[in-house]
């Protein structure tokens, strides 16, 4: 069962011709800012979103694809870009959605970008291996998807339970339940890997 994913079907909110015909300062700001805003958003959030994806995904090699795709989607939808205070939330939600395996397979099928991984892997083999062996990441693979998402959003992205509920589209009660069960499982998995 695939959840409804809001990011996929968003219609284009404003057509450029309409915006430029309006000629109002506000419209000009909104569309004109988007290019620079992309750089700004990138600098502010790309790294942390990449790391978020690394925690949500089993395979590190698709992190870049997922986060780049999220940036592309969010910035291609002008309406989203025009609400800078929500941009991070949109990006985060898109990363979470894309990290779910069904969707990810779809982007990888479309894969529009050359794969950056081989170079990186050889250049930083040590770091890459260490990541693959990381105990927490290994333990996270043992969690149910929802539990993993809740824990990562709570403890890596530092969201409140209410914010997690909004990103995942579930109730706060569910977030609490997934969180506590996830933590318990995580503890067991971490301890067992210690021995």
């Amino acid at each position: 069962m695939i959840e409804a994913v809001p990011v996929v079907s968003l219609p284009l909110p404003v057509r450029r011709s309409a915006a430029s015909r309006m000629g109002s300062a506000a419209a000009a700001d909104a569309t004109g800012a988007s290019v620079d805003q992309l750089t700004e958003t990138y600098q502010a959030h790309y790294r942390s979103l990449l790391r978020l994806a690394a925690l949500l995904l089993d395979d590190l090699s698709s992190c870049e694809d997922v986060v780049q795709e999220a940036f592309i989607r969010v910035h291609a939808a002008r309406k989203r870009v025009r609400e800078p205070e929500k941009t991070l939330a949109y990006l985060r939600q898109t990363v979470v959605n894309l990290s779910r395996s069904t969707l990810r397979r779809r982007i990888l099928g479309l894969r529009l970008l050359p794969k950056p991984m081989p170079d990186m892997a050889s250049a930083e083999e040590g770091a890459y291996d260490a990541l693959e062996r990381d105990q927490l990441r290994t333990a996270l693979k043992g969690l149910q998807r929802r539990q993993r998402e809740v824990l990562v959003l709570r403890y890596y992205a530092d969201l409140t339970e209410a914010q997690v509920a909004e990103v995942l589209g579930v109730s706060v009660g569910s977030v609490k339940a997934y969180g506590s069960r996830g933590l318990a499982t995580l503890r067991v998995l971490m301890e067992s890997s210690h021995d």
């Binding site: 450029r16 000629g23 290019v35 990138y42 790391r51 910035h75 770091a127 990541l131 990381d134 927490l136």
Partner: protein, 332 residues
């Protein structure tokens, strides 16, 4: 009770630290921003077409594109504003899709072949043999990335305004180093108001098919890195489409700026603030400047006078072949 709470807080703190540490080694791919930058306008174009309900049109186009390729379509690559240096310009843009053997890209997005909306641009790309001569079109991604210091001999070129007041031009930046390097991003194009021109009415957007900058070549997807051999360069085209009127109208004229041939010269920055010492007679102007990937200093700028607001449409970089080093761009 409080002990319990403190313990919980500490455990939570440790957990957060654990999450952070576990992915602390994950670092962005340096080319990511460049890729996103190129992909966003393409996606917008796709969305727009989807939104206008052109699904059927798409199917027709998808069926028609191969035919057009075969028949060799109308060739817009050397369009009316393209200028003389253009003979190689458009066609040497490597076609990223199926043509390039062993290129780093795999397939483009389905249903919308790259540069789809007008098949013309891609037409010229495929009509000429994709594996032509020594053009470094599908060079392996083994070359080092171009550093800002590798890029120089930047020039700006402006055509005269057309009847609607639109002004087209381009920036050319060359690889001045002794090695080949890969351009990892499109760089930035910025527009700055001068005189009575209003910054709030000026914007810079990526050129997409069907926008107001009709004389720019249809956008093609350029795979990055764009490999530049020593002496080769890249060109970023732009079109200025004015909009609205000035409070006090001034005659429209376009003046190519004395380009800052040496990228290290900070003089170009001086043109950002209106350079004229006589404030009363300052004509409205817009300074369009290009900063290559890798950041400041900006490489070249051009001053367009006569309008107070409008839109700069910019293209993705395309390769320009080696030419004898003439610093000043002369049209014709």
């Amino acid at each position: 009770m409080t002990d319990d709470q403190q313990g919980r807080e500490r455990a939570e703190y440790e957990l957060r630290a654990l999450f952070r540490e576990s992915v602390a080694a994950v670092e962005p791919d340096p080319a990511a921003l460049g890729r996103i930058r190129l992909a966003v306008p393409r996606r917008r174009a796709r969305r727009r077409h989807a939104w206008t309900g052109a699904v059927a049109a798409t199917l027709v186009a998808a069926a028609a594109v191969p035919t057009l390729h075969a028949v060799r379509p109308f060739d817009l690559s050397g369009g009316p504003t393209a200028g003389s240096a253009d003979a190689h310009g458009a066609s040497s843009v490597p076609r990223p899709s199926r043509g390039s053997p062993g290129g780093p890209r795999s397939t483009p997005l389905p249903a919308f072949p790259d540069g789809r909306p007008t098949p013309s641009a891609s037409g010229s790309g495929t009509a000429t043999d994709p594996g032509q001569s020594g053009a470094p079109a599908s060079a392996p991604p083994a070359v080092p990335a171009c550093l800002r210091a590798d890029l120089g001999r930047a020039t700006a070129h402006l055509d005269t305004a057309d009847s609607a007041g639109s002004v087209y031009g381009y920036f050319t930046v060359r690889n001045t180093s002794a090695r080949s390097c890969g351009l990892t991003g499109p760089g930035t194009v910025a527009a700055t108001a001068g005189g009575p021109a209003e910054q709030a009415r000026i914007k810079v957007v990526d050129h997409i098919a069907g926008d107001a900058a009709a004389a720019l070549p249809a956008p093609t997807a350029v795979p990055l890195p764009l490999v530049l051999a020593p002496g080769e360069g890249y060109r970023v085209r732009f079109g200025w489409v004015p909009e609205g009127t000035c409070p006090s109208s001034a005659p429209r004229a376009a003046a190519p700026a004395a380009d800052s041939a040496a990228p290290a010269v900070p003089g170009a920055a001086g043109t950002e603030t209106s350079p004229s010492p006589t404030p009363s007679a300052v004509p409205p102007s817009v300074t369009v400047a290009h900063t290559p990937e890798g950041g400041v200093p900006e490489a070249a700028s051009a001053v367009i006078t006569g309008s107070c607001g409008g839109t700069v449409y910019r293209t993705a970089p395309e390769t320009v072949p080696v030419e004898p080093s003439t610093a000043a761009p002369t049209s014709g």
